[in-house]
């Protein structure tokens, strides 16, 4: 069976495949990390876009 490149690095775990589990196994640390990463990334991207806008807006305004 061909696999997509997205799962190429996963090692198929027979116990998981067999039970047909579709919900993620509860893992508070991973969930917290995931939430935190999303929050951090949102803030930082906003900051970066803000800086770029500042830089480029002043180019437009000063033209």
């Amino acid at each position: 069976m061909t696999r997509s490149w997205r799962t190429a690095t996963c090692t198929p775990d027979p116990s998981v495949e067999a039970s047909g589990v579709t919900q993620p196994i509860p893992d508070k640390h991973a969930a917290d990390s995931r939430r935190g990463v999303r929050r951090t990334v949102k803030i930082l991207i906003a900051v970066v876009i803000g800086f770029y806008l500042l830089a480029f807006l002043q180019i437009l305004l000063m033209k």
Binding site: W5, A8, T9, T11, H29, D32, S33, G36, V37, R39, T40, V41, L44, I45, V47, V48, F51, Y52, L54, A55, F56, Q58, I59, M62, K63
Partner: protein, 538 residues
């Protein structure tokens, strides 16, 4: 065991993708991406180094023997751009990618796919930039600083600007990744003030990158619009001011040089305690000093502009602020020495490079202090005294730290010990020849030799010849490093232990050598005694 036993170690063989394209072009693995960055940086180092060899060959004797003056300017410009953006910065990113997740107990970086994009942008950007050398009109020749109006005379400006934008985006994405990883993916128990100093140094550097890369983008975009879209930001005929560019550029440029040195400080703070078998002296002071240096780096930019004709008040402010940076930097140097003092030291190659860093970077710092004094700087500015200063801090500073880190962590990455004898041969050659190369340049600057000139009065001949000889031999010595690395990765028979170095402490030494493709898929249990800074009270 300080980590829960998983099937990870045995996963090594199925961990990494089997296809070459899958593994290296589509990688989402921080270790492989780290390796890609490091190989890329090493390649760029040799390319930028070859430009330097040509420069030193031309400067070997008075008179023009090898290249036309315009091409010489292209060489100096490209040497700077390649070394800064292609060698030093990507090398630190590679080290960060490899080690940060391992040091904080994270399974990978926060955004593994963006990590891949961050890397692959770089080869494209540099091929673009290097290709300008082959265009009619040649590559950029206005110095890596690209001051207008001169830089606007270059036909290849658009390509270089585009390449710089790409590099900037790569750096910004990398910085976001690093901050998100460090703030959110540390294993439980890995408090911020228990993290290795290297991780702290990268956390702070990442904020610097986010703050200033957009500024560089703005500066080079203004160059582009001035040349092609009729703006007059830097054209006095249109109401603009060439000095404005310098302010904007150096607002980026000064934090940039701290971006290139802070991770080096972090590396030295990892290596010295290991080989002194003694905890880093003043952990919190070291972290605090990093933060102070980073903050101060934003308010000193005009010390690159002392000869521009700034108002007296501005000259004085920037002089005082610049001198202030010597304080936290001095604290770091003293703390490293205090770590050595009372230790039980051995002098393997990583330690040799780290000690050379401390001594020679400090010498670079001394010339920096001298440069900060404005009346003296009137004589130093744009001379070889400045060239000597920044090569001391960047070559014997940043580069030596990168090399030290490579020797230090190569056994962990590859699972094999490098050849210690040849490592030491590389070290001694490097340290001797780098000083033969750069120390005489102090004298040349003091005697009055300007920088960025392909030819000079015969009075400068003696030290130029000495410097060139040092350059050729220093360059050749780096081939020893290449040999040591290749031998270690592909041919060495000496297996490395997990801990590798007797005095090494930290999470990264608890995983096997070579580190498995996936580590810490389950967060490790942290035992404070096993960390380098687990029991910090002051």
């Amino acid at each position: 065991m300080s980590y829960a036993a998983t099937h990870d170690q045995h996963d090594d063989h199925h961990g990494a993708p089997k296809s070459f394209f899958q593994r290296w072009c589509m990688s989402t693995n921080h270790k492989d991406i780290g390796t890609l960055y490091l190989i890329f940086a090493l390649t760029m180092f040799f390319i930028g180094g070859s430009f330097a060899m040509t420069i030193r060959a031309e400067l070997f004797k008075p008179g023009l023997q090898l290249v036309q003056p315009y091409f010489f300017n292209e060489l100096t410009t490209m040497h700077g751009l390649i070394m800064i953006f292609g060698a030093i910065m990507p090398a630190f990113v590679g080290l960060g990618n490899w080690m940060i997740p391992l040091m904080v107990g994270a399974p990978d970086m926060a955004l593994p796919r963006m990590n891949n994009l961050s890397f692959w942008i770089l080869p494209f950007a540099f091929i673009l930039m290097l290709s300008t050398l082959f265009l009619p009109g040649g590559g950029p020749a206005g110095g890596w600083t690209m001051y207008p109006p001169l830089s606007l005379q270059s036909d290849s400006l658009a390509y270089v600007v585009f390449a710089i934008h790409l590099m900037g985006i790569s750096s910004i994405m990398g910085a976001i990744n690093i901050i998100a990883t460090i703030l959110n993916m540390r294993a439980p128990g890995m408090d911020l003030l228990k993290m290795p100093v290297f991780v702290w140094s990268w956390l702070i550097t990442a904020f610097l990158l986010i703050a200033v890369m957009p500024v560089l983008a703005g500066a080079v975009t203004m160059l582009l619009t001035d040349k092609y879209f009729g703006t007059s930001f830097f054209n006095p005929g249109g109401g603009g001011d060439p000095v404005l560019y310098q302010h904007v550029f150096w607002f980026f440029g000064h934090p940039e040089v701290y971006i290139m040195i802070l991770p080096a400080f972090g590396i030295v703070s990892e290596i010295v305690p290991t080989f002194a078998r003694k905890p880093i002296f003043g952990y919190k002071a070291m972290v605090f000093a990093l933060a102070c240096i980073a903050f101060l780096s934003f308010i000193v930019w005009a010390h690159h502009m002392f000869a521009v004709g700034l108002p007296l008040g501005a000259d004085l402010f920037f002089m005082y602020a610049t001198m202030l940076i010597a304080v936290p930097t001095g604290v770091k140097v003293f703390n490293w020495v205090a770590t050595m003092w009372g230790g039980s030291m051995t002098f393997e190659t990583p330690m040799l490079f780290a000690i050379a860093f401390i001594i020679l970077f400090t010498i670079g710092g001394f010339s920096g202090l001298m440069l900060a004094l404005v009346p003296a700087d009137f004589q130093y500015q744009d001379t070889y005294f400045v060239v000597a200063h920044f090569h001391y801090v960047l070559v014997t500073g940043a580069l030596f730290a990168i090399i030290a880190a490579a020797y230090y962590w190569l056994p962990k990455w590859s699972g094999r010990m490098y050849n210690e004898f040849w490592g030491k041969v590389h070290f001694w050659n490097s340290v001797v020849w780098v000083n033969v190369l750069f120390f005489p340049q102090h004298f040349l600057g003091l005697a009055g030799m300007p920088r960025r000139i392909p030819d000079y009065n015969v009075a400068f001949a003696n030290f130029n010849m000495i410097s060139s000889i040092g350059g050729f031999l220093f360059g050749a010595s780096q081939l020893i490093f290449l040999g040591v690395v290749i031998h270690c990765v592909f041919f060495s028979k000496k297996k490395a232990t997990d801990r590798v170095w007797e005095g090494a402490k930290g999470l990264e030494w608890t995983v096997p050598s070579p580190a498995p493709h996936h580590t810490f898929s389950v967060p490790p249990v942290i035992h404070d005694e096993e960390l380098a800074h687990g029991n910090v009270h002051a």
